[in-house]
């Protein structure tokens, strides 16, 4: 029984992280129409940043967040403006942009991964921050996981409010529904797309900071996180924030269950099993396709 509660609690925390990653990806893919295969590299980059800030300079991860989140925002904004805009310009239709952006970001993935391996080495990294046990419903959870969860909820909730309550948020949602019509109503689609892409990058960096507090990571692990984020986005339905939350939590719990009960080395297989089920059962997403 304690094991079950333990699995569910840890699973929900992990799943909350996945939902957060998916949220950022949905901004990049659903609004800027870029399928960014190098997405997870920014997560790992932020994790390394946190590691070195904390271990090297004793800057706490939460303070690190204040540095790394804006930094990733700027980097991703530049990434969109410099690297991706030429592709957006030359694309004759959305299909062509999709193929081109997949290829370009696939290349970027290897560049960033190479740079990180060179700078930080290929071995696994972890550090200990707030790893005091907290007991909830008879199960023990590390305080860092609770803190990560809390911050993720704040970021997700904040983003939701920004998207639904502000003028800019409305513009972002408009572009996600129909870029052409958004342009015709006077929205600068290119700058909104750049903004959404950058915001997605900021969110994944936040995710990287948060998971680094309780998971070990290495320079090669970005791909796995990208994969999980992509699958959560698809399971939830592209552009559907609530769907992403539900799908993320499902994945988190399922993965934790398999990791605890079978083998921690099989988490990606769980991801694929869920993906397969989603494809066969509800290819438009758990809650159907809606937009941001």
């Amino acid at each position: 029984m304690t094991l079950a509660i333990d699995i569910v609690l840890s699973g929900l925390v992990l799943g909350g992280m996945y939902a957060l990653f998916a949220l950022g990806l949905t901004l990049q893919y659903g609004v800027a129409r870029i399928l960014n295969l190098s997405y997870g590299e920014f997560l790992i980059g932020a994790a390394f940043g946190t590691f070195h800030l904390y271990v090297g300079m004793s800057v706490s991860p939460i303070l690190g967040l204040l540095v790394l989140l804006p930094l990733s925002f700027v980097l991703n904004w530049l990434f969109y403006q410099v690297v991706l805009i030429p592709l957006v310009r030359r694309a004759k239709d959305q299909g062509m942009l999709e193929v081109d952006s997949i290829l370009a970001t696939f290349g970027v993935l290897f560049v960033i991964q190479g740079v990180m391996t060179l700078t930080f080495g290929g071995q696994l990294h972890s550090y200990s921050y707030l790893s005091v046990p907290v007991t909830i419903l008879g199960a023990t959870l590390a305080a860092n996981r609770l803190l990560a969860m809390l911050v993720a909820v704040l970021i997700g909730g904040g983003l939701y409010l920004l998207l639904t309550r502000t003028r800019t948020g409305t513009a972002v949602r408009a572009v996600s529904v129909n870029p052409m019509a958004a342009q015709l109503s006077g929205i600068d689609v290119r700058s909104v797309s750049a903004l959404a892409f950058a915001a997605g990058g900021a969110i994944v960096a936040a995710g990287g900071v948060l998971v680094s507090m309780f998971l070990t990571f290495s320079a090669a692990m970005g791909v796995v996180f990208t994969m999980k984020a992509l699958i959560v986005v698809i399971m939830g339905g592209v552009g559907n924030m609530l769907g992403a939350l539900v799908a993320g939590l499902m994945l988190g719990v399922a993965e934790t269950a398999v990791a605890r009960l079978v083998d921690p080395g099989l988490t990606l297989a769980v991801t694929y099993a869920l993906f397969l089920a989603a494809l066969l059962w509800r290819p438009t997403g758990l809650l159907g396709r809606t937009t941001l």
């Binding site: 399928l35 295969l37 690297v83 030429p86 592709l87 030359r90 299909g95 999709e98 193929v99 081109d100 997949i102 290829l103 370009a104 696939f106 290349g107 970027v108 993935l109 290897f110 560049v111 960033i112 991964q113 190479g114 740079v115 391996t117 060179l118 791909v223 796995v224 990208t226 994969m227 992509l230 699958i231 698809i234 083998d263 080395g265 099989l266 988490t267 990606l268 297989a269 991801t271 694929y272 993906f275 397969l276 494809l279 066969l280 290819p283």
Partner: protein, 576 residues
């Protein structure tokens, strides 16, 4: 040069390549092995991803499956059986990936392939540690570098032969049409899922065979070596550099890149992945169609056209891997009515686009389907042609029920359509566009017959002078003519025209009306959705009027256009 001369040159080159290990060994032979094995992988990759633009990111998964199969079975089974098992395993995995993703949009496929090799690596590693009891394995297959080289060379010959045959078969054309416009492909009678699945399986099979042949080279193998995602990446780079659209493209890309990678790994082992990524980005930006694309642009003669390359033998050999020819029921051909619909309903969420629609079309008539914008006309055409599936109701063509059939089956049964926003296959010439309609109907036309029939159809819609021009270069009216010719190519029992006359200037409109009238005189049954009242008056025998998803009137044009409810629907209360 004649064909015999080409063949002779090919054989000479092959003999020279096969003789290479007799003069070289050690480092140079190892390099030659790398060249051949990457050429096979990149060519196999481009077989599927080239024409369809479905990017496969999991070459390493299939390569690893092959390598691991060889490692596990080396001591138990003879070599030939190992190859068969590797191929079958790859086909099985390809079918799982393909069946779950290829019927959906391309993005699901790409995502699925993106993590696939990592997932299989995890599974294999788990199996090895927990069940087999050690991470890696030693491979005891008695073979030499020469042996590996010759096997790879033989595999390369096979992959090129298969690619050559596919390029000359209906399957090759099917994939090119799918790559250009999947919707058009379905309505031209192409079973798109089956075509994609077949070629993905063939391509995966070659990757696995390469892995199985390469396995002995390592002597020690573990999941991380065999499922190395760098291979997936290198293969995509090579295929794209050379140009994935033509058979020889990947070869052109593989040769310089294998040599370059050799230099890079030797001199910058730690920077390899960075340099690889940068090279790739440069290719994506500056050579999007590869060297082959660049050459084709400069020398149009090189353009890989379909018309001159259709081969009956190629088609016969390749047909078995995908196509099940559909027989069209001809016996009830004189039935009147040709098409009957009853109780058709289709809703999108809360919006009911078609509500209890029922009407029939008589043989040889032109039926006008009219009504204000948003009244459900195009929805009805989509229901008939199988783009959409009705929630309720029945559609029969000469008594054969159409509901539930996939679009390509409905097209093969003789339902042809044009699209509201004209859809031509821009990268293909006019003749090739029409051949796309001829090659997948039943009975299908192929080879010289198809070219002849295509030219005749092009003449029928007055496009003769532009027959060999790429469709993208046509004017709007000419694109509409071409789309009509492609629809006629499937020898339709019934032709659905969705605002085919819209957007034409008065002169073009006159020509367009003449073309349709001629079709009717030739006995084609037509349903046309149209807003041009003059055209409806002069062409239609009968009209069905729709409003808000329902049929509100039916009868001769003069009568329905005078109907109070119809006038009301078009002009509103005050003018009725």
């Amino acid at each position: 040069m004649t064909r015999v001369a080409y063949l002779f040159a090919g054989v000479v080159v092959l003999i020279l390549l096969a003789a290479f290990p007799l003069v070289a060994s050690g480092y140079y032979l190892a390099l030659a092995i790398s060249l051949v094995y990457f050429t096979v992988l990149a060519t196999a990759w481009a077989l599927f991803s080239g024409p369809t633009h479905y990017i496969t990111l999991c070459t390493a998964a299939f390569f690893g499956i092959g390598a691991y199969t060889a490692a596990v079975l080396a001591e138990v089974l003879p070599w030939a059986v190992i190859l068969v098992v590797a191929a079958l395993l790859a086909i099985a995995v390809a079918l799982v990936v393909g069946l779950s993703t290829l019927r959906l949009s391309g993005i699901y496929f790409v995502i699925f392939t993106f993590g696939l090799s990592e997932m299989i690596r995890q599974l294999v590693a788990w199996y090895e540690v927990n069940i087999h009891g050690s991470v890696g394995r030693y491979i005891f297959i008695e073979t030499t570098q020469q042996g590996i080289y010759w096997r790879l060379l033989a595999l390369a010959v096979v992959v090129f032969a298969v690619g050559w045959l596919i390029g000359r078969s209906r399957l090759g054309l099917a994939l090119r049409v799918i790559g250009a416009d999947e919707t058009v492909a379905r309505h031209a009678g192409i079973d798109t899922t089956r075509a994609k699945l077949a070629l993905f399986a063939v391509s995966s099979c070659f990757m696995a065979l390469t892995g199985a042949i390469m396995a002995p080279r390592w002597t020690y193998i573990d999941p991380a070596i065999s499922f190395n995602s760098l291979i997936s990446f290198e293969v995509v780079i090579m295929a794209l550099l050379g140009g994935a659209g033509v058979l020889w493209g990947p070869l052109v890309g593989a040769v310089p890149l294998v040599l370059l990678f050799e230099v890079l790994t030797a001199n910058f082992p730690n920077h390899f992945s960075i340099l690889l990524g940068l090279i790739f980005i440069v290719i994506v930006y500056f050579l999007p169609n590869g060297v082959a694309g660049l050459l084709e642009q400069r020398i149009p003669r090189l353009r890989a056209g379909i018309a001159g390359r259709m081969s009956k033998i190629g088609e016969k050999l390749v047909r078995h891997i995908w196509s099940k020819p559909a027989a069209r029921t001809r016996q009830a051909f004189d039935a009147t009515p040709v098409l009957t619909m009853s109780g058709l309903r289709k809703s999108f969420g809360g919006l009911v686009a078609a509500d209890d629609v029922a009407f029939e079309t008589r043989r040889g008539e032109i039926l006008g389907l009219i009504g204000p914008n948003g009244s459900g006309k195009t929805t009805v055409l989509n229901l008939i042609s199988g783009s959409l599936r009705p929630d309720k109701g029945d559609i029969r063509l000469n008594g054969v029920p159409l509901v539930g059939l996939p679009a390509h089956r409905i097209a093969q049964l003789g339902v042809a359509r044009t699209f509201q926003l004209v859809r031509v296959l821009g990268s293909l010439s006019c003749v090739e566009n029409v051949i796309a309609g001829l090659a997948f109907r039943s009975p299908a036309l192929w080879g010289a017959e198809a070219v002849r029939a295509a030219r005749a159809l092009i003449e029928r819609v007055d496009l003769t002078e532009k027959a060999d021009v790429p469709a993208a270069q046509l004017t709007y009216i000419d694109q509409k003519r071409l789309e009509l010719a492609r629809a006629l190519a499937i020898d339709p029992v019934i032709l659905l025209l969705d605002e085919w006359l819209a957007g034409l200037n008065p002169k073009e409109l006159e020509d367009g009306i003449a073309v349709i009238r001629r079709l009717r005189d030739e006995g084609v049954t037509i349903i046309m959705v149209e807003h041009m009242m003059d055209a409806i008056r002069s062409l239609c025998d009968r009209c069905v009027v729709m409003n808000a998803g329902r049929k509100i009137a039916e009868g001769p044009p003069s009568a329905v256009l005078a109907d109070r409810e119809v006038v009301h629907a078009y002009l509103g209360e005050g003018d009725a």
